[in-house]
Amino acid sequence: MADGSRSNGSTRRDLPLVADRMVGLDRQIASGHPAVAAGWDMPVDLDKDPAVIPQLADVEVPEDLKREIEWRMSLYPDPRSAVLPALKAAQRVHGWLSTDAMRQVAAVMKVTPAYLSSIASFYDMLHEDPVGRHYVYVCTSVSCHLVNAKAVYDAIAAAAKKARLEGWDIREFECLGACDMQPMASIDGRYVGPLDPSDAPELVAAIKEGRTPLPGRGLEDEDYMPAGAGDPPPHEETQ
């Protein structure tokens, strides 16, 4: 096939394609998930070469990233098991899974970029668009829904907009496994709750100023007390 014989041009998708990816997003359903996937109606660019496995010799990979991916691959009987950790590592380094980031992973793992795209687009925590290096996932799933989580999300989203918070992916999320903190949110993995819409401005302000949001209300905080724990009888083991 035409692999090496056609040189790889550099018309790479390094600029976010958010604009063209918005096509077809007009119909949104209740929870804010778009009705159709972005990209569904995009043709390919016939000027591009097919995305075959890149040659490592042609791709510059940050040394740390390369080492991490190779180490991850060594942990499994089949190196491909390391695809999620590898993509996560690349996402950490690049902020998102840009075409360059994917090419680097593909070259180290010796897999096709399409394989990586099929994986990355399947999982909610991997992003092929620059949605933000950090995240606030506000759980609006069943239990949190029952205690008004949508209002919490709306308040946080509005506060973030007002504060012009950039580089953060703020979105509704499915159950985060912390209904005891309902309604709650995960801020880059730090679970905080229970939340009230009135917490939103302070939460956003803390993020913006680089402070820990809502100290004492994070799951791992020393003095954390879950909901209702103050009321008699105290929780769990004292039954």
């Binding site: 359903i29 209740a30 929870s31 998930h33 942990l75 499994y76 009987p77 089949d78 491909r80 098991s81 390391a82 695809v83 999620l84 950790p85 993509l87 996560k88 099929s118 994986i119 399947f122 999982y123 909610d124 925590m125 991997l126 996932y137 609006t140 799933s141 069943v142 239990s143 829904h145 029952l146 205690v147 999320f173 499915e174 159950c175 985060l176 496994g177 912390a178 209904c179 005891d180 903190m181 309902q182 995960s186 880059d188 993995g189 730090r190 679970y191 799951l219 791992e220 879950p226 909901a227 209702g228 724990a229 009321d231 929780h235 769990e236 083991e237 039954q239």
Partner: protein
């Protein structure tokens, strides 16, 4: 309180530093492992687990010992996989176990692996549990340093490597076959069974896959001895269960109870019941996938696998979501259906299209565009999904939605009717605000 019994899994849960190997060992940790490796041979370990009769805590309630006994003997590569994907709405018990008592899980993994003679293990933790994965990873490292993991553990000749694997946000990866595909480095799509994991699981090798809580019970069985272990529990559900209670209750949280207490004890006695002045309208006894039970039918049933099944629902992962009588059910149903629509892997037709269609119909109910006939269709779509899918994710939506529709049909119809009336009023208002403002029934 009648539920009061000795805690097993949550025994020392608030002991500071329980997640460190020192404290865990001080509390008697890893002594079951020592017994299993130095006093018992693998078959005896397996026998004890079987005799302990612990049913899977991940959802299906399949007897763990029996599943382990399906693993073929022989020196092929075998695998132990711990399902720590806990992503079902309402479930959060594994989170606490891993965060607070990671070594119990690790000890359980090693003993279970010994029983089936697997030399590789993986703990698949959902990606959102970053803190918990960090804790477990640290604990695994400590266990390696102490020689509980790695080569020739406790001079028994048994080798076991344990890797913490983090997911990246996909509920379906909790389904065992999807989890294996995901761990294989693929999209998390369930595969056809058979072959079952016991024969061809991870990397096509025999694989034992169990939930976190299930595996946490293993050291306890060995420690107490199976005879002692089975003294707690109901006829067909042995041991204790960590129940996650959430929704409209005053004290949401994890409560460890002996299987067989009543639902009322859990919801009211432990979790404080619904807010002041509210009644339990219905509850999901086994997470969002379980058919709902109304307060009247469910509260006085005993909480165990067999009773919940008899009542037409299931104990599932042991997550109780309480809905009080102030909650409208249509938005809840819509939110729940949308969860499954979003989390469907998309592989099989009835689930992919059925969840999508259900959401669209419920949206119409919510927005007042539904007709009474739509409820019949909605119910039929649920039964067209049921039993026709590749895995049970589709059923997991069809069952609760179907049960809500069945038990609260009138509320659905009323909701639609009210929404329609609201719409009509809005249309009138837009067209002729003066008219809308005027009282409808004659002059005052």
């Amino acid at each position: 309180m009648t539920a009061a019994t000795e805690l097993r899994l949550l025994k020392d849960i608030d002991e500071p530093g329980l997640d460190t190997i020192e404290v865990y060992e001080r509390r008697g940790g890893y002594s079951a492992l020592r017994t299993a490796l130095t006093e018992l041979d693998p078959d005896e370990v397996l026998e004890q687990i079987q005799a302990g009769d612990v049913r899977g805590r991940g959802g299906a309630g399949f007897a763990m010992g029996k599943k382990a006994s399906f693993i073929p003997k022989g020196d092929m590569d075998k695998y132990l996989v711990c399902n720590a994907d806990e992503s079902e709405p309402g479930a959060f018990k594994d989170r606490v176990l891993m965060q607070k008592n990671p070594h119990l899980l690790i000890e359980g993994c090693i003993i279970a692996a010994r029983a089936i003679e697997a030399n590789h293990g993986f703990i698949y933790i959902r990606g959102e549990y970053e803190l918990q994965a960090d804790v477990v990873e640290r604990a695994v490292r400590a266990a390696y340093e102490r020689g509980y993991l790695g080569a020739d553990i406790l001079d028994s000749g048994f080798d076991f490597e344990l890797v913490v694997h983090r997911g990246a946000g996909a509920y379906i990866c909790g389904e065992e076959m999807a989890l294996l595909d995901s761990l294989d480095g693929k999209r998390g799509n369930p595969r056809l069974k058979p072959p079952f994991p016991a024969n061809a699981g991870l990397y096509q090798g025999p694989t034992l896959l169990n939930n976190v809580e299930t595996l946490c019970n293993v050291p306890i069985i060995i420690e107490l001895g199976p005879e002692e272990y089975v003294k707690v529990g109901s006829e067909q559900s042995k041991g204790t269960k960590v129940v996650s209670v959430s929704g409209n209750v005053q004290r949401p949280g994890n409560y460890e109870v002996p299987l067989g207490v009543t639902c009322r004890e859990i919801i009211y006695g432990l979790a404080g019941g619904p807010p002041e002045g509210r009644e339990v309208k219905c509850f999901f006894p086994g997470g969002s996938s379980a058919p709902v039970l109304t307060g009247d039918e469910g509260l006085d049933l005993t909480y165990d696998f067999e009773t919940m099944a008899q009542a037409g629902s299931m104990l599932g992962s042991g997550s109780v979501i309480v809905v009080d009588d102030s909650q409208p059910l249509v938005p809840l149903a819509l939110r729940l259906a949308d969860f499954y629509r979003h989390e469907s892997c998309g592989k099989c037709v009835p689930c992919r299209e059925g969840t999508n269609w259900t959401v669209k119909m419920l949206e119409r109910v919510e927005s007042g565009e539904a007709t009474p006939m739509d409820f019949e269709l909605l119910a039929q779509v649920q039964s067209n999904i049921l039993g026709n899918c590749l895995c049970v994710l589709g059923d997991s939506m069809a069952m609760p939605i179907g049960s809500m529709l069945e038990k609260f049909r009138a509320e659905f119809e009323q909701h639609a009717e009210e929404a329609r009336a609201r719409n009509e009023a809005a249309v009138v208002e837009q067209a002729a605000p003066e008219l809308a403002a005027a009282p409808l029934t004659g002059p005052a």
